[in-house]
């Protein structure tokens, strides 16, 4: 089972919306996907209540200590991908999510506040030796500030592609209990999220291959 964590202590950066969008996009090939909601705000649980589809499965995490047993149970149940949505704070649940993830996504808007807020998250990720990528989120569709933000985030580490432009479809899909790829098929927001998911999947698979090769070298 792959584990993807969305982390940053900046509120409003789009962790929950991206979690939902990516989870639904990941289900496109019939894969079983789960979301672990470690954010007491409950955005995803409420989205799930509005949703008619059984998947993605949503597990709300009351206590950070439960993250391991929850992930073990999901893996035992045959879940292929679990996405952990964390709260906008650098708490124990976020650290455990980072520690347990194959890839961490750090959503950031093109603003100084979002970039600065990533510092403790980046330190935690690097201390825990996890892979990560920034997602430039809620961006304007073009402009020199967008490219400036992209260059800046690239200098701090990987920057996932494409950038996710600020579009109403994301909020409308969330309100209607859909993923954005279900809500407006063929729309620009759906295309961007679909492409972002393919980028993330590539990194997850690459990471697994790297690990296997590393294990073989260690065994040899």
């Amino acid at each position: 089972m792959y584990v993807l964590a969305l982390v940053t202590q900046k509120g409003g950066s789009g962790k929950s919306t991206l979690t939902v969008g990516l989870a639904v996009a990941a289900m496109a090939n019939g894969e079983r996907v789960a979301i672990v909601e470690a954010d007491p705000q409950g955005t995803i649980s409420r989205w799930k209540e509005r949703r008619a589809d059984t998947y993605p499965r949503v597990d709300r995490l009351a206590d950070p200590a439960y993250i391991e047993p929850v992930l073990a149970r999901l893996e035992a149940e045959g879940i292929w991908l679990t996405i952990i949505d964390t709260a906008a704070t650098n708490n124990a649940a976020a650290l455990r999510a980072i520690a347990r993830s194959d890839l961490c996504l750090i959503p950031a808007r093109p603003s100084p506040a979002d970039i600065e807020a990533a510092v403790p998250t980046l330190i935690a990720i690097r201390r825990l030796g996890r892979r990560f990528a920034f997602v430039l989120n809620q961006t304007p569709s073009r402009g020199c500030r967008l490219s400036e933000a992209a260059t800046s985030l690239n200098s701090l580490g990987h920057l996932a592609l494409p950038y996710i432009v600020q579009r109403n479809d994301h909020q409308d899909a969330l309100g209607a209990g859909f993923g954005v790829t279900e809500f407006e098929r063929g729309g620009k927001a759906a295309e961007e999220i679909g492409e972002l998911w393919r980028w993330v999947l590539k990194k997850l698979v690459e990471g697994a291959v790297d690990h296997e090769q590393g294990a073989k070298r260690a065994a040899g």
């Binding site: 124990a92 800046s152 580490g157």
Partner: protein, 220 residues
């Protein structure tokens, strides 16, 4: 009506905008600083039990660390090289130590909350019992029950001290953690220690209650 009010005076200079790239350099330095050993102050106190650097040893689907060394930009590459050169120095930082203490405090609060609830319940019971019996029993018995309440309070103080000591040990160990595997293992170990401590404390309270009851029976 004049539009003069809306016009910025010629001598009112607008502050120069700080570019995101410039800000990101500061962020990058903050992250690097956060990963490097600082032997002074509280950090030193938290890191005096540091262990040598070890690679994470995890299950087959885990992804190994070196990832960000492959960062595509020249800046990121040089950072990665620097990081590699300093890998032997990687240890707790101010931020990481703060996070470790935060997690430890979460545990402490959770443990102290449970202990406090238990003690309050015990004290309430002793008090209620004393008040109920006050009218019908000899003054000596009321004294015994008063002494029981005092003994419970004294015991509570000892238990709190034990909890604080365990939490500080945990924070110290956590600050020296370098790999995800260590972090997860340590969290599990701490959960077990907390449980064991709670059981011991529950036993201590039980024995105290039995001793008081015995003393009271002996007097009547």
């Amino acid at each position: 009506m004049s539009k003069a009010q809306n016009v910025r005076p010629a001598n009112d200079m607008r502050p120069a905008r700080r570019s995101l790239a410039e800000l990101t350099e500061a962020v990058s330095r903050a992250v690097e600083d956060g990963l490097v050993v600082r032997p002074a102050g509280t950090v030193a106190a938290l890191t005096d039990h540091q262990r040598p650097f070890e690679q994470a040893t995890e299950g087959p689907k885990r992804i190994e660390v070196p990832e960000q060394a492959a960062t595509p930009t020249p800046v990121a590459r040089s950072e990665a090289q620097n990081a590699q050169a300093r890998s032997g120095e990687f240890a707790a930082s101010d931020s990481a130590a703060e996070m470790a203490v935060k997690i430890a405090k979460d545990y402490q609060n959770s443990m102290l909350g449970t202990i406090r609830d238990g003690l309050n319940a015990a004290l309430d019971n002793a008090k209620d019992f004393a008040e109920t019996k006050r009218g019908s029993e000899a003054p000596g018995n009321v004294g015994v029950l008063g002494a029981a309440a005092a003994a419970f309070r004294a015991e509570a103080l000892k238990l709190m001290q034990a909890n604080v000591a365990t939490t500080l040990d945990y924070a110290r160990e956590l600050a020296g953690t370098r790999t995800a595997a260590e972090f997860v293992e340590l969290s599990g170990t701490q959960a077990r220690k907390s449980c064991e401590l709670m059981i011991k404390q529950a036993d201590a309270l039980k024995s105290l209650a039995q001793a008081v009851a015995k003393e009271r029976t002996g007097r009547t």
